[in-house]
Symmetry: D2
């Protein structure tokens, strides 16, 4: 079985590296020549000059791309070539788009899986990603055997789109939660509490503590907004959630408001910064006492 | 040192029991005769016919009462009697009220501590409460020695009111978080995900998982709204937060909206139910597809 | 100049009638045969068996359709036939969609105008619509001469899409305003004010009174939710606004929240009712005292 | 009948002037000597050295003060002196406070009316205020005869507090409406509409147009935030509404969110500016395109 991967961004590069080390990667493509050369040199796999060529020489194609537009422009032209092949898209995109691409690939005689991930680039390096998979049950083992090289959990979520819906459930919660963490932190600071003690509440004393507060509390204390997950990406995901909520006819008052606050953080200049920088919205937009 | 306790409600009764078993309780008072009789019979401590009498016969007085009105009407008349005594108020009330009572007690030559708790009645029984303490540093050891009989952590948070502000930081986060958990759960169900898998995300796969989602996910699955912490109490705490935010001039958009949603849950009949019943707001108020 | 109209719904029928009476309508089409027959019989204009036929026999084509999907499926197939012709789309749809259709029509050598309206069916009958027009300035007079037969104001708003953006500005304001009117009314009732006096404030005493409060205050008093403008249509428009706000990168906290409340009104069964029925959200979801 | 007025602020000074010109004012008090001297010199009425003296020499006492704290500290000490006298409080304060003061005055054998106003200082000069009156029906004519000298409408709203609740209904609507106007304006500008045309929609074309949009649209166009009604006063009124909503157990999602946005405007430096300056929140906190 030949495996190709398209998209050597921050996540894709490291996922590809894990696969190469496990002997499960044959060929890569990235539109940026330099990235592709670097990877090929380091990991001794082939490169393709076009995505078409990559698809033709592979049985399984993995994509890890930025957003709906990227996936649409890269994957859509490839759908007629997918007969007998499997596409595993690890990007976080709109389930609606993913499902429509899956239909086209099926019509060409191939299979598609949505397999978005929970976790940052550090998680990839530690092989601790969580991969949420949607698609036909019977070839899930193919996805599992590949994804396990880069993940601590590979979970089958249901038919096409269900991996992405599961990811959106996670990010709806995470985005709203971090907004609440920031609001609580700023409330505590302004009440006169010792910031260290607020961090203590967020990470240890509170029953709403989580792995995420352990990660973010030190960043709050040091105003360290170096990026683990960018504000603009949380905005993008909450925007997908908002549009899907329209399709699903579900109310999403909390995450809709959180989206507005992340947009404000972007307006304050924190688009590329870590999404915990939303705390600056609370700090700067609370009147001085 | 003689210790008295006022308020044998669900929490107060169990805290008093822990103290009695540790030999650190001399006398109790509750306005409901039956509760008082039951406790006295079971734990062999004295009872008082009035709060005044209890204060006069105690060095340390513990209060565990429902809300601002209860604390104001019980504690305020006692302040002139507090010379040389220590009041430990474990109720969750407005910091502003608590600070003003602390001033009055100081003026009478006594000391007051605000010592609200994180945790439910089950936590008391397991001696696993978290007690957040505000008040003069030099007698904190007295509070510590008493509270440790019922808690796994007794944390000094600063001057008067700081214990309560710390509690509000926790409940601002917790109340907003559970609203987001409910929104995420309903979004996932309506997207067609297996509810068990959504619970799996909330408790295991998500980096925003917490001890609280472990407690609440089974309740979501079974629509079991039996009370661990009542919706009306979360509403009350978020109302205190909203008023304190006015005093502190801090913005609290997320928790302000969460308060509206808990009020809606109360309107749907879930005032006395567990606050995870807020999920019914999302279920019932999302249009049918 | 031959004029055809597609879409004999509640609005379209009445607009067509005004044009026919003014001698400015030659042919109509509706997918529902009965509506078309009725109109043709009453107003003595021709009918077309297909939209293609209508376009081929007309110089100016007016469309008045339900939503993005309807416009997309009706107009898109017609774009190659538009050489030398003018399309006036009076539907309220996404500006993004409208602009992309305008580009296609231009490429075929035709012109398109977005010309959505402010006002209900009663306004059409009284020829008191407001028509907001986007498209090439130089043929605006054609649009004006037609639209004036059914409107008291026909306003040029700028290039393609600007008519629709103007309509969205109106509905962003109107939808948020009516939500606020409902909130204020319910607050007043629960405070114990005489509902007649609240209506008096809304329509006469307040500087935020408007033609809309004059229309809606009697409906609030009588709980008369007979439809002037349906909740589902306000939801649809606020959903378009939410998606366009994503494109424009503007924050829209108030209308985003209003959308959630209209969705709740739909869940309560008021989807087809007048959008003032949002007051039931406030009534039913405020806890009993 | 002797009439005294306490509080020569921007509103109080002009109201007092109208009364003096009508021969219906005998004595004034303000804690700022200069204001009082200026008024006395210009309008030839007596001044009092204390509020107590003013009350003793008057049959009807009018108060026009800044907020709850001011009314509480000025009026409460006067309540024992009110036998046979009438207090007309024109301040916008919490109904709950007003009702409790009314009870105390009744117990002293006097009467109190809450009589807050709609309108700015310009309205006073034009005698076009709206006065909303709560209190005992039988002496309403006394209030009416005085208030009509400065108002175009003096409306009896019901028992004590009802004047204030009516005022809050108005400001709940007005505060939410202006937030929506600002959101709509910014949306339109960012969509590329001509600001003049947006103003045209807000003041002429929209059915949600109002006397307030006529007043504020020119300010939006010129970014003229000179104060007609200060942001901090709208914040204060929305804070009262939020607290009263807690008492009344009504949901107020829209005005609660509007309050957060006015707080943000204050944080941006617009506390003393006109409340239409809330538009800067939308402008500055929408990401650049």
């Amino acid at each position: 079985m030949k495996i190709g991967l398209i998209g050597l961004g921050i996540m894709g590069y490291r996922i590809a590296a894990n696969l190469a080390k496990a002997g499960k990667l044959n060929v890569v493509f990235d539109r940026t020549q330099d990235k592709m050369e670097k990877f090929v040199k380091e990991y001794k796999v082939a490169k393709s000059s076009t995505t078409k060529e990559l698809v033709e020489s592979s049985d399984v194609i993995i994509t890890m791309l930025a957003d709906d537009n990227a996936v649409k422009s890269v994957v859509e032209p490839l759908t007629p070539l997918m007969k007998g092949k499997i596409l595993i898209d690890m990007s976080t995109i709109s389930p609606t788009l993913s499902i429509s691409l899956a239909r086209k690939i099926e019509n060409s005689g191939g299979l598609m899986y949505d397999a978005p991930v929970i976790g940052t680039s550090t998680f990839v390096e530690q092989k601790k990603l969580v991969v949420l998979v949607g698609g036909p049950k019977d070839k899930f083992d193919v996805v599992y055997d590949i994804a396990k090289e880069t993940a601590s959990a590979v979970v089958y979520m249901g038919s096409n789109g269900m991996g992405l819906y599961a990811k959106l459930v996670n990010n709806l919660l995470l985005g709203s939660y971090i907004a609440a963490v920031a609001e609580a932190y700023n409330f505590g600071v302004r009440a006169g509490l010792d910031p260290q003690q607020i961090a203590n509440i967020l990470t240890t004393l509170s029953s709403a503590r989580s792995p995420t507060t352990e990660l973010k509390a030190p960043k709050l204390l040091k105003e360290d907004y170096s990026t683990q997950f960018a504000t603009k990406h949380m905005s993008k995901d909450l925007e997908i959630i908002s549009r899907e909520a329209q399709n699903l006819k579900v109310i999403t008052p909390i995450s809709s408001l959180a989206l507005q606050l992340y947009k404000m953080a972007e307006a304050l200049g924190y688009s590329e910064a870590d999404f915990i920088s939303i705390v600056e919205v609370f700090k700067r937009l609370s009147p001085k006492t």
